[in-house]
């Protein structure tokens, strides 16, 4: 798994590439919680994620809950079909705010 974080218009954009699995989800969790802790809105680009398991999903849920406590936005963008299927299996596709593109995500509401 690779990741990158950049700042755009005061928002933090986190993108992951590769497998967000049991081996790599601790790093994903650290990155996501670190971004949320900064108090900015966080947009997570999942377009290049080839695989995500329950541990990766758990990292997203934990960061999502942390953002709620902070009162900031935590938005998933460009979620590819493989990752979306896993979110659907967990019935989290209706819990997370998901936008098709980063532009839509930043422009969108909650």
């Amino acid at each position: 798994m690779e990741h990158a974080v950049r700042e755009e218009q005061g928002n933090l954009i986190v993108s992951f590439q590769g497998d967000v699995d049991l081996e790599h989800s601790p790093k994903a969790r650290e990155v996501l919680l670190g971004c949320v802790a900064k108090g900015q809105d966080v947009f997570v680009d999942l377009s290049e994620v080839s695989y995500i398991d329950s541990s990766g999903v758990a990292s997203l849920v934990e960061a999502f809950q942390a953002s709620k406590q902070k009162g900031t936005r935590f938005v998933l963008v460009a979620v590819n079909a493989a990752a979306l299927r896993v979110l659907e299996l967990a019935r989290l596709d209706k819990v997370f705010t998901i936008h098709e593109t980063l532009v839509e995500g930043i422009r969108g509401g909650t």
Partner: protein, 141 residues
Amino acid sequence: MPEFRSKRVLQLRFPARAAELKRIREAVRESVEGCGCSAKSTADIVLAIDEACQNIIRHAYRRESDNVIELEIEHRGDGLVFSLLDHAPTIDPSQVKPRDLDDLRPGGLGTHFIRRVMDEVDFMRPVSGHGNLLRMVRRID
């Protein structure tokens, strides 16, 4: 009862380590695709097997180790039979339950994924009398 010919399509022994799981997923993907599963079903099955292996690492062996996990896939008639064997202390199957999805919290999704994907999930007593044997069946669509 029709008699189905059974064919073993995969047999693996590997240490209970997270770093092993990527190659296990690849092996499962190749085997399941070779049995005629659709791309979507294959992805679901790969997830379920991965989660079952994770449960062994995290809950049966309680941590990563060189303890062995054995995986076997058999193609029987219109279905696939997955057997996962560990040598950990016997667990209580009634404690392995999917959590309520309305209770939003980070963990506990793995067992839910397994039960959503597989048509049958059973804990069985291994022939050796020790360890845990998880048998899962998925019909081929």
